[in-house]
């Protein structure tokens, strides 16, 4: 039994990707969500720091002034030279009428945990509904004791590649390509070419 026809799966992916952008103001990317949990202690620390941020305009101004003075004293901040008349009439860095492509802040860690839980729950629901995925075909030749090791190694390589390329087949392949981002187009081409090459090499080795 096929889970979903291709056109319905594509539409569902599109709704998910666009909905994610509308809700979170960030492109959808699964590897980025997973990567947050690889550094869960740092993420939790950042959220704690955010919750302890100075409140009140006066307290914030005082803390900022103190930090500024320390950064200047430490040589981290250097006062710029007075700008020349020519520089003051130079064109602004951002062309008028073009909105900057700013990203929203990442969702709370709990929200991304819910996202990952939803991924797992979706697969479980589909399975409970009686659908059968073709996992056996995908793992053909790797059945038995070695299958878990192959899966683990594949997952490790997937994570390494996703972190190295700044995104996975979701972030680059679905969201980035849809936005015609050159880096995502190149990354997706590399993903697919590598997958085809590895599949052909492994297929040849098995036959």
């Amino acid at each position: 039994m096929t889970v979903l026809p291709w056109w319905a799966a594509g539409a569902a992916l599109a709704v998910t990707a666009v909905g994610h952008w509308i809700v979170e103001r960030r492109p959808l990317g699964v590897s980025g969500v997973v990567a947050r949990f690889a550094n869960v202690r740092g993420e939790l620390r950042a959220e704690r720091e955010a919750s302890r941020a100075p409140t009140g305009a006066e307290a914030l101004a005082a803390a900022l002034a103190e930090a500024t003075a320390e950064a200047i004293a430490g040589g981290e901040l250097v006062a710029a030279a007075p700008s020349s008349p020519a520089a003051s009439t130079a064109a602004p860095a951002t062309p008028p009428g073009r909105a900057p492509r700013a990203l929203g802040p990442p969702a709370p860690l709990l929200g991304h945990a819910a996202f990952l839980a939803g991924l797992a729950a979706g697969g479980l629901l589909v399975r409970l509904a009686g659908a059968r995925l073709d996992a056996a075909g995908a793992l053909a030749g790797h059945a038995g004791a070695g299958s878990l090791a192959v899966l683990a190694a594949g997952g490790l390589l997937l994570g390494f590649g996703g972190a190295w390329m700044g995104g996975c087949t979701t972030g680059h392949g679905i969201t980035g390509c849809a936005r015609l981002m050159p880096g995502s187009l190149l990354a997706t081409a590399v993903f697919l070419a590598t997958a085809a090459l590895v599949a052909s090499v492994l297929g040849g080795a098995r036959s």
Binding site: G29, R52, A53, A63, T68, V78, P105, P108
Partner: protein, 71 residues
């Protein structure tokens, strides 16, 4: 050199533009060397960015009397 693309949403950038004393942060990071900005780096990597994290990576000290956060 282009300015940081996150200027419109960065809460610290607004503060840096409101005070001439704090404008030095804007000169040193937002207008030119935003690739060095710790906030920019974390946003690019999808990490959480505390509102009190300064561009140089230092976490803004808390008001006296309250619990102090990580340096």
């Amino acid at each position: 050199m282009s300015a940081c693309e996150h200027e419109s949403v960065c809460p610290l950038f607004r503060l840096f533009t409101m005070s001439s004393c704090l404008g030095i942060w804007k000169q040193n990071y937002c207008d030119a060397e935003w690739r060095r900005c710790e906030r920019h780096r974390r946003v690019g990597e999808g990490q959480a960015v505390p509102p009190n994290l300064l561009p140089n990576g230092r976490v803004l000290a808390l008001p006296p009397g309250s619990h102090r956060g990580a340096p």
